[in-house]
Symmetry: C2
Subunit: 464 residues, 2 copies
């Protein structure tokens, strides 16, 4: 069967489009190196028609399909299982920018376009595509949509769900749904695109998208601000929201252990405060007009709050230096060793209490644990990572127990155990515990309706 | 069967909760008086448990359910058919504000709460709930969510879909789904709430919601601006977006025939321009800070564009007077007589061409037609209504032909035949023509999965 399938598959694209053997290695291991899989082959379609033909073939042969974008999933969402019976379908060769409609503030792109290429295309049209995160240069729009990715500008612009107006999707049987509309309002039936955004390839493969663009801001202001703690940070956020509203694009919380990790692993990065303050917030504002007006506004709020130690970036390179600190935290963690990572959200009002109570519970169970807490406070989203004295993969033995402590504190506040990274393989087991039976039943009904043979990215997302 | 059903229904709430006979009349006619229906009874549950018990009963007896909020649908979406075999379920007695979490910028409300009551509760907590439209005092949040309603602030804040973080829904079999989370980020499975927003009661009944709040703006600026035409209006919008970004809450286009209708039916309303300009835009900005700074910014952009005739509101009462003109257009139309109404959207870049070409096509077929065009230019959404010399219901004889002309022009620009008013009964027949077979099949799969006995608001929304 497999030989017949592969022979037919080879007729659906050019010779460079089908990889087997060692050429597939890079596609079969996730970027965190936690999940390794096998596949019948790697298919690299060049356009929607090829994706559709491949899915139709897979449907006839009942071959499972694992879609992959830039292979930057943090949850093993794009890695096949070890059976070797699935087709890995990479969108990397389908990466064009179809169209920019500056008057409509929209851009139409193929799924394999990298986030950075979309940002650049928008910039060249005098517009902003605001999604941004560390993997921008390698992640692809299809994957970003399929995981409803977030990043550093969610506070103002929302996550990928908020940035998409239309989709083209190839369904499990190879049917093409063309929903490439560029409309800001359209109440004509169920909003089908919402089904596919965040579904991690389990309902179909996103092939093209119409995305929202925004006017490119001309003024920026950045500050790095020592604060007494998470409650003080939250109060500052509200003062700033009252004064500056949607000009706030980022409001990031950084705890002292993050800065200590940076000092250790990136000694060349200037440490702006000595000694390191217990808590910092990194604030970014953007607006039309001149930098100076925006910087004055930010300074006004900070000084009205008595935050005299705040550092306001005086020029773009200082702003970049502040951001380099924030963006180097994940790499400093990696250099430090293996940690148990969490990407949680709670209502903003519950953040200070969560940080206090969860820290207490963890240290009671693991008195030597080190907690690396940082993230998008403005979205109620924390990256909350735990080091034990053993910095090797041996700590994964404690993962389940540590997770149970943290996710209990999250669940008590009606929070989420995966705010922006999704489910993939890594968090699939948590669905059963932290989503209700009614919710799981609804999700299974949808999955069954759209993919009755369970061919789309099986073994991910929904628990068995 | 019906007697047994009604007897059991009566045990599920208090005596005031079940209406029959003449007491049901007000629930069985839509507000535009185009659709009259009949029902077994009107049930008025007081809480989620009563809704659930009623839907479970209906499910056992295979009795159809028509949910109704404030009965303000413009498309007959909340009116039962003439069979008299459905239960009309009104949420009007389930209208509390459950909770305001100002630190999380969220409010939790029951489905029957009017939009105005939610706006007022937000205001009392120093926050803004930004959804707003003419029926605010009588429409209910459940209906607003079920129809994904829009209104005058969509440009900045989005429609109801963008304003909801969590839902509680009673499903077709009476199961309660509690998704009342107040999180800005949560990537743990399909985003189920998206299914119910805009589904017009065909998949379940929304009983409670967690809604987003915003800082209340302290500064406002309003201008009424004569422009050369739709293209000039669009250019002004882009200049203003570059200069003021998200401070623009409304950007409304008004054509001369609208102003003429106002002059005729509301002679007491001051007409700010004589003669009436061919086209006007009504602009509203909101921000933190002082009115004067925002008004200066607006004036700067207008005068840089050479729009010397622009009127800037000098105080709140003048702003209200400008808005009263805009908001009186629908009532002036009603006083003028019966028109064929449309609520369409196209990409913003296609608006000028649409207005020109569609007007030409209509006047070729109906040389005496009068076109009343106005609406939310910033969202690409026009209300586009046609008077024929006969101002009586007789014009409905031409409705199908007029619609065919207009919707052809809309479809050629990949627009929508219902931007914000939804489908209901009025536009159900259009679904078959203007949504693709793939889209309709996907919608039917979802409907079948969640409501296999077709009990939820049958005869609406999806074509047979």
């Amino acid at each position: 069967m497999s030989a017949e399938f592969l022979a037919e598959l080879a007729t659906l694209t050019d010779p460079a489009g089908i990889l087997t053997g060692a050429a597939t290695d890079g596609y079969l291991l996730d970027q965190r190196r936690r999940f390794a899989g096998r596949a019948l082959a790697v298919a690299r379609p060049r356009d929607t028609a090829e994706v559709a033909a491949m899915l139709a073939l897979c449907h006839r042969h009942r071959v499972a399909v694992v879609p992959q974008g830039g292979n930057t999933s943090l949850c093993g969402g794009a890695t096949p299982d070890s059976s070797g019976q699935a087709l890995l379908l990479s969108l990397e060769r389908f990466h064009g920018i179809d169209d920019i409609d500056a008057d409509n503030n929209t851009i139409t792109v193929a799924a394999g376009a990298t986030l950075a290429s979309v940002q650049a295309a928008a910039r060249s049209a005098g517009r902003l595509f605001p999604a941004d995160w560390a993997a921008a240069a390698s992640c692809q729009i299809g994957g970003a949509l399929a995981t409803n990715a977030g990043g550093i500008n969610v506070l103002r612009y929302g996550n990928m769900r908020n940035l998409v107006l239309g989709l083209e999707v190839v369904l499990a049987d190879g049917t093409i749904w063309n929903g490439l509309r560029g409309l800001r309002k359209d109440n004509t039936g169920y909003d089908l695109k919402q089904l596919f955004v965040g579904s991690e390839g389990t309902l179909g493969i996103i092939t093209r998208a119409v995305l929202r663009l925004y006017p490119a801001p001309t003024a920026h202001a950045t500050a790095l601000v020592p604060v007494a703690g998470p409650q003080a940070a939250l109060e500052l956020l509200h003062e700033l929201q009252a004064a500056a509203g949607d000009r706030i694009t980022s409001f990031e919380l950084i705890s002292a252990p993050c800065m200590a990790l940076l000092a250790q692993h990136f000694p060349a990065l200037p440490q702006p405060f000595a000694p390191i303050p217990d808590w910092l917030v990194l604030i970014e504002l953007a607006d039309a007009g001149e930098d100076s007006a925006l910087q004055d506004k930010l300074a006004e709020v900070l000084f009205a709050q008595g935050l005299d130690e705040a550092l306001l970036a005086q020029h773009a390179s200082q702003s970049r230096a502040f951001w380099e600190l924030r963006e180097s935290i994940p790499e400093a963690q990696r250099l430090e060793g293996v940690s148990i990572k969490h990407d949680i959200s709670v209502p903003l009002s519950a953040i200070p209490d969560f940080i206090e109570q969860c820290g207490r519970a963890l240290l009671a169970a693991y008195p030597t644990a080190q907690i690396i807490a940082f993230g998008h406070l403005g979205d109620g989203n924390l990256h909350y990572n735990i080091f034990l004295p053993d910095h090797s993969a041996g700590v994964y033995a404690e993962e389940e127990h540590i997770n149970a402590i943290i996710y209990r504190e999250v669940a008590e506040r009606r929070g989420s155990f995966s705010a922006e990274h999704g489910i993939g393989q890594l968090k699939r087991g948590l669905m059963q515990h932290y989503r209700s039976p009614v919710e799981l039943a609804l999700m299974r009904q949808i999955k069954q309706a759209l993919d009755p043979h369970n061919l789309m990215n099986p073994g991910k997302f929904l628990p068995d």
